[in-house]
Symmetry: C2
């Protein structure tokens, strides 16, 4: 039996821990005597059709460990979403190189690619083991308790709001921050984990799972501002009206002299700016500020959940083990056991491929502008250890002297 060749690639948006999965595959594969070579494709599926491979077998285990702890996609990534023809090209290259196992780390589009490639191999009678390894900060893969990359991004968002809340308490006003997540609100909901004291922000959380009404939003902001003397708001970039039209598009049309034209949701500060303009114009509130967390929430170096890092490593390792010891293709899925432990299963590719998970109703408060304790209990263990915590001076007022005389 000739030595097995393995190919691994990374697709879609990078995360803080996607390299853990890559290194999990590479190091675990190298432990098997039957594995001859571990190749990595540069820039995902595009690197496969271009035969742009690097030999990870020649990399030191020491450097692999350092790369594992580095955010971003060390092999490079791609936004290509292969159709059937593209997948046939992928398969042709895998066959030409005698690849026996194909591992693709990515979201649900990537799992669909793995599914089609595996079908092509089956049709051709070519023995190819295909495993999808989950990854997405959006946490929108079905069949998974959560997905690697999400906990670290959620940690960034929670820390960001914990800090923004302190800043807003020091200099009161309205603060609106826009968080990634076109269809699933998990990452925006993570903002609520930044709260500690009962009057901490975010005071309002807007998720794409609920219809966004601008009048209701303005009334919410007004009420919260009156109650707390300030207001911190978390908004998903994917908020939309009842017809599904993004609010960004609606506001951009509505407000004269301000149309960021297209409806590219990420990589622009338009939604936060437009919401702030609405608040200033309609509520007449002062000190209204908007931020868009943008690429920081998925790329910031130095904000990693240790639980996420560990699980991202393990899904890579388990993918190799499933491929070596099982006769099935599939997608590695994270299952929660107890409170809190993790198990891994290999689920069918078509169980994951092309499907999008959104936040369960039980995670969203009846108000539609907050999360439930159930979501808090779901997310807290994923954020990992060493979460920074905010502390306050306790009240000890001093009696007035001058005003008392007056």
């Amino acid at each position: 039996m000739s030595a097995v060749k393995i190919l691994v690639a990374q697709g879609g948006g990078p995360t803080a821990v996607i390299n853990q999965s890559l290194v999990g595959v590479a190091l675990e594969a190298r432990r098997f005597a039957s594995v001859g070579r571990v190749y990595g494709a540069r820039h995902g599926v595009r690197g496969i059709v271009n035969e742009d491979f690097v030999d990870l077998t020649q990399e030191t285990s020491h450097n692999l460990e350092l790369v594992a702890a580095t955010p971003g996609s060390a092999l490079g990534s791609t936004r290509d979403k292969p159709d059937l023809k593209y997948c046939q090209q992928i398969f042709a290259v895998l066959r030409a190189h005698g690849i026996g196992h194909f591992f693709y780390i990515g979201g649900n589009d990537s799992s669909d690619t793995v599914r089609i490639v595996s079908e092509e191999a089956a049709k051709a009678g070519y023995p190819l083991r295909c495993v999808h390894i989950p990854k997405t900060i959006d946490n929108d893969l079905v069949a998974n308790d959560h997905t690697p990359g999400f906990p670290s991004a959620a940690r960034f968002v929670a820390q960001a709001f914990a800090g923004a809340n302190l800043d807003n308490a020091a200099l009161p006003g309205v603060y609106v921050a826009v968080v990634m997540g076109r269809h699933a609100g998990f990452l925006t909901a993570a903002s609520a984990l930044g709260r500690k004291f009962p009057d901490d922000g975010p005071h309002l959380v807007y998720l794409p799972e609920r219809t966004f009404k601008i009048e209701r939003f303005l009334a919410d902001v007004k009420a919260a501002s009156e109650r707390f003397g300030r207001c911190v708001v978390a908004v998903s970039e994917g908020i939309h009206d009842a017809s599904g039209q993004p609010i960004l598009a609606q506001l951009a049309k509505q407000i004269e002299h301000d149309a960021h034209g297209n409806v590219q949701l990420s990589g622009s500060g338009a939604l936060a700016d437009l919401l702030c303009e609405e608040i200033k114009a309609k509520l007449g509130l002062k000190r209204v500020r908007g931020d868009t967390f943008g690429y920081l929430q998925r790329s910031f170096i130095g904000c990693v959940s240790d639980v996420d890092a560990r699980e991202a490593r393990e899904v890579g390792e388990k993918a190799v083990q499933f491929a070596m010891w099982s006769e099935r293709n599939g997608s590695v899925a994270i299952k929660r056991t107890g409170s809190y432990a993790t198990g891994y299963e290999l689920v069918a590719l078509d169980e994951v491929a092309g499907k999008t998970r959104v936040m369960e109703d039980a995670f969203i408060a009846a108000s539609g502008t907050d999360i439930t304790d159930e979501f808090r209990m779901y997310l807290r263990p994923l954020l990992g250890s060493g979460m920074p915590e905010a502390f306050r001076l306790r009240p000890a007022p001093v009696a007035k002297v001058l005003s008392a005389k007056a």
Copy 2:
């Protein structure tokens, strides 16, 4: 002799370590037997004129230590910039409460307030010791090697660019991120400390110390994109044309259907968006993304330079020592000794008050779009220990099979 009463307050934008200075004052003052009470004013000078004081003497030292490690201004802050009349009100309240020492933690506006209040006390023959304690993420105080708050914000910016560079390398394109700093480019320049490998971004750094020309900017981005296959750009919010007009105002006028109206630099993503639109329109480049670091760079919880935390604590402690043991009013200044150690001096208030430091020419590369090694050596020790580092896979290309046949 009756017991001394001390008043401390925090002004201007919060930082990651301003509470270290507050706690440095409170704990150091409590060590002096002559000190009876340590008061804190809520929301800076406004809290003084409103007699809104809390008694820090009643706070536990344990909780004070926890507050010290919390970002934001624990006493609350204010943007008020007192004029003479306002300062006279401040003095009236200090006298009514029998305050003997007044400590104000803030930037150069705050030092000017301290100066005027001290003059009012002198005129009235009232014995008041007034000390300004430096703080600003902009690093724009004269007479200081650097200011508390800046190193932690610089660390955030450096880490953000280190991560954004990895993200951009994985999915190549143009990435423009806007950094705080209206007049001084120190914080924007810190982006360059995120680089490790020779082709790492930011590839271009635009500082308010140099005139910004949009045509030159576009040519720079084009050249860098051709050279690196991608381009990461750091831009100060304060960039301006030769006449001093902010580029934000200029671009907003120039581009039809897009005018974020006012020229509020922070709390809006407009500058990044407008620069990205220029790049897309004029250079025809794809995947152009803009971020604005916004309030994250000064408020993010969990990104602190240990050197900054230590120094912020010490300027608070030294302020009390100078006040107790010296007959002078003044501003505590950080002096650099050796490579790298810190000393503290009490300098005259009018040496600091109302003056703005900008980046020295020796810190800016001749190109005007990069920093010098001198700046790197200046900033590196301030960022503190444990800076996360990026690692790469080393090249080990695999020979093509299919393409070789073709």
